[in-house]
């Protein structure tokens, strides 16, 4: 099947889409209409309303149902979605978005500037902690006409655009939520968005079926007729489903890293680790600074030098991810490659512990620490065992404690741990995703705040300067300085810039094209014959 003229014209509306079509044509493959994409979702989302639930699997499936104003390329450049174009005033305080024409919600109602303003200033502001922190900076939001949104900030906030991706600010229908409790409104079950696919059927514990939305605003798209997400709870069963062709796409943690090498060698499968640039989580050993001797910088440096990050990425994660060099992922803005933590050096680590006055006893043990194993799958248990081995080399005895996800979240949130593993999404900018772990103003009894309790006034000051500066150059200077300090003080032991394998059958095209990978709307995904 060839591309229709209408389809091509529509594709020219956005440059990346055009580029992709041209790329495909150059390879001799034209997008083909039709077919059903089968995939896997684990764990099963409780609801599919972005905002009310923001778990990874929810964002993947609901990413086909809802859309944001923008999305982001792998290098984090903004790409138009529901916003056709936008301008930012020179003082960095006024943002004007021009909206796409002819956008409809799945219930047939048109999407207007009113829906956009409602989504930003009321819906996400109320339900989503991530949005609340940033959208509190909005002074006023107005709609001069039904297709224009003007937002004025109280102060310049340079990473503001990054908040308009679907995962942060999905546009929801005002007419279905206004005047109701947003979390319990009937619309939460229906999941009505503007995306290329609408929720057709959900048999809990079994599958979620999304169907092509006939009135989608990009003519001729989406190419797929349907997407079916099967709920498959066992990781070996998921791998088999992929190998036997019963599903064509897996993502995130569907497949354990140690199964990836075998799947790479299958001729019918493609493995990509791209498409996580916007999230770019960095995994670290989380230290509770209230536990002695973790408050001693020499001890933290020693722990950091006692772990071999190459071993972790190559032997535990099989190349999915890369060794961390500092708290900011290399794919996140303002990463400074010149700021680096000290390398793997067992002898230097032991010397530091000696200097800290922590002498080994007769068994060679200097001190004992408890380690709460991250309960997110087999690979994390292996990591805990590796850490136990490698820290024992320098005389630190690690006692592993196992737990389940609920207890883990509660104990970390209540500071009831000595060491554990943690990672958070960085959302493209250190102010959005890195600052929260290190500034003393964010020491709270809540998960994913500065639960470790690290405090350094200079670090607080630099993060604040980077947050408030309007000029990216000033921000870079502050972030570079803070990265150097953090690399010296190693408040947390960064291990790995994480990535997740997206594994597709070779029939599937365009599964990963943006910095958000499988979270994209899939309006350009197609199956070859």
């Amino acid at each position: 099947m060839t591309v229709s003229r209408r389809g091509l014209l529509a594709a020219t509306a956005s440059a990346p889409a055009l580029m992709r079509v041209q790329e495909a044509l150059a390879q001799g493959i034209a997008p083909r209409r039709g077919g059903t994409l089968t995939s896997i979702l684990t764990p099963e989302p409780p609801v599919l309303q972005i905002g009310v639930n923001n778990q990874g699997p929810t964002l993947v499936a609901a990413g086909k149902i809802f859309q944001g104003l923008l999305t982001f390329s792998p290098t984090l450049e903004p790409v138009p979605v529901l916003a056709k174009s936008w301008t930012i005033s020179p003082d960095g305080k006024e943002y004007v978005f021009r909206l796409q024409e002819g956008v409809k919600f799945h219930d047939g109602q048109p999407m207007t500037a009113e829906d956009v303003i409602f989504s930003i200033t009321r819906f996400h502001f109320e339900v989503s902690p991530r949005a609340r922190a940033i959208f509190a900076l909005i002074d006023k939001a107005e709609a001069p006409d039904p297709l224009t949104v003007r937002i004025t900030l109280k102060q310049p906030f340079q990473p503001f655009l990054l908040m308009f991706d679907n995962s942060a600010c999905a546009i929801v229908p005002k007419h279905l939520f206004d005047g109701q409790d947003f979390r319990t409104a009937p619309a939460v079950q229906r999941a009505i968005g503007t995306g290329p696919f609408r929720l057709a059927e959900w048999q809990r514990g079994n599958f979620i079926r999304l169907e092509r939305f006939a009135d989608y605003w990009k003519p001729g798209q989406p190419y797929l007729d349907a997407i079916i997400y099967r709920i498959v709870p066992d990781s070996q069963s998921r791998r088999l489903a992929l190998e036997t062709g019963q599903v064509l796409l897996t993502q995130g943690s569907d497949v354990e890293p140690f199964d990836v090498p075998a799947l790479r060698s299958r001729p019918n499968l493609d493995v990509s680790v791209k498409g996580w640039e916007y999230f770019s989580p960095v995994a670290w050993i989380e230290l509770n600074h209230r536990v002695k001797p973790l408050d001693d910088v020499r001890v933290r440096q020693a722990i950091s030098m006692a772990v071999d990050r190459n071993f972790i990425t190559q032997r535990l994660w099989f190349g999915v991810g890369k060794p961390a060099t500092n708290p900011i992922a290399s794919t996140t803005r303002f990463h400074d490659a010149s700021a680096k933590i000290a390398g793997y050096d067992v002898r230097a680590a032991a010397a530091l512990l000696d200097a800290a006055g922590l002498r080994p006893n007769a068994q060679g043990v200097r001190f004992t620490l408890k380690h709460l194993t991250l309960p997110y799958g087999e690979v994390w248990s292996r990591l805990a065992e590796y850490l136990k081995q490698s820290l024992r080399q320098v005389g630190i005895a690690l006692e592993l404690e196992s737990t389940d996800a609920g207890s883990w979240a509660r104990r970390v949130g209540a500071w009831e741990y000595e060491t554990t593993i943690n990672f958070v999404y960085q959302f493209g900018d250190p102010t959005l995703g890195v600052e929260r772990t290190y500034v003393s103003t964010n020491i709270q009894k809540v998960t994913f705040t500065n639960t470790g309790g690290y405090a350094n006034p200079k670090v607080d000051e630099l993060f604040a300067a980077a947050r408030n500066a309007a000029d990216p150059k000033d921000r870079q200077a502050a972030f570079s300085a803070v990265q150097k300090i953090l690399c010296e003080e190693v408040p947390q032991i960064w291990l790995m810039e994480m990535a997740f394998p997206t594994i597709t059958d070779k029939k599937v095209r365009n599964a990963v094209t943006t910095g958000l990978g499988v979270h994209a709307s899939f309006d350009d995904v197609f199956l070859t014959a």
Binding site: V47, R183, T184, R204, S237, T244, F448
Partner: protein, 328 residues
């Protein structure tokens, strides 16, 4: 059994059953709430971002801001009016969530149960009849193997052989999705999906029944009334069926009664390996998410099942063995 005793028996047992179930409900409630963590902290953990307002909003919505005894009282009241509550996490009534998943589990465990009981008793009887010979040894070894092998491993091996190598059967799910089917096609499709999980679950119990049947039959076969029957010239096949097997069945029924009570909850592993959309997984996921109402709802259904099947087993004893009388 005298028919006149039956209504009184049922009434007494019914009252006892209600008391037992209520006690179980209270215990379950306290146990579930004793687990560290609550649904709000789980959701915060899964969302990757949280603040104090968010946690407070969720706890208020879930009713967790009330003291525990108030929550228990509210729950007991609703259970007594046969309302299992509401899952705030999934935004749906618990009864609906449980009923959606119940048929899948009943189909799976029912099929496995029927297969295990029929095949197990047959194999056990055959082994007992040919005790000491090669057929007995083969059956005993097979039974022991399945008894000792972990369920999930058997499941994965069956998938490897029948789905990956032979490509005869689907490896997961309960039906094909996204394909138009009608009438018998649907039945055939579900049957194909059912075969492997039912076999996996059934093989373990098959082993139990085979061993139990064999052991008790051998025991009964030595007793005087069997010798008497043989002495007065009753044919060997009839001795086996009417005298030995019938008397040997009582322990089997006891065990089957216990197993039937566990039908709802005992299949979590198989449901997980085969992605079978049943109630066992619903409970397991509710546990991980600390979705208290759903978890309690599943516990409630399973405890009612156990009580019911105990009652049924007691009645069945009297049918199989007229010497047993029902008594409350």
């Amino acid at each position: 059994m005298e028919a006149s005793k039956l209504p009184g028996f049922l009434l007494r047992r019914g009252v006892k059953a209600v008391i037992v179930v209520l006690a179980i409900v209270v215990c379950n409630f306290l146990l579930v709430h004793a687990a560290p963590g609550d649904p709000a902290s789980v959701i915060a953990g899964q969302s990757g971002a949280a603040d104090a307002v968010f946690l407070e909003q969720l706890r208020r919505q879930f009713g967790l801001d009330q003291p525990l005894y108030v929550q228990l009282w509210i729950y007991l009241k609703s259970v007594l009016s046969l309302d299992l509550g509401f899952s705030h996490r999934q935004q749906a009534p618990v009864a609906q969530l449980v009923l959606e998943r119940l048929p899948a589990t009943l189909l799976l465990t029912g099929a496995a149960f029927a297969f295990a009981l029929a095949a197990g008793v047959t194999l056990g009887a055959l082994a007992a009849q040919r005790v000491g010979r090669w057929a007995d040894s083969v059956i005993t070894v097979i039974a022991l193997t399945f008894y000792a092998t972990p369920l999930f491993w058997v499941g994965l091996m069956l998938v490897l052989v029948f789905s990956v190598w032979l490509e005869w059967l689907p490896s997961f799910g309960m039906s094909s999705v996204g394909v138009e089917m009608h009438g018998l096609e649907v039945v055939w499709d579900v049957a194909q999906h059912l075969l492997l999980p039912a076999l996996t679950l059934g093989l373990f119990y098959l082993a139990v029944y085979a061993r139990l049947t064999r052991a008790t039959m051998l025991e009964v076969a030595d007793q005087d009334f069997v010798k008497t029957a043989r002495a007065k010239g009753v044919p060997e096949g009839r001795i086996l069926r009417a005298h030995v097997l019938r008397n040997a069945l009582l322990p089997v029924i006891t065990f089957a009664g216990i197993q039937a009570g566990q039908l709802l909850g005992g299949s979590i592993l198989v449901e997980t390996v085969f992605a079978w959309p049943g109630i066992g997984r619903l409970a397991f996921e509710a546990l991980l998410a600390r979705d208290y109402p759903v978890l309690l709802g599943v516990f409630f259904c399973t405890s009612v099942m156990v009580v019911l099947f105990n009652l049924l087993t007691d009645l069945l004893y009297a049918v199989i063995d007229p010497r047993v009388e029902v008594a409350g």
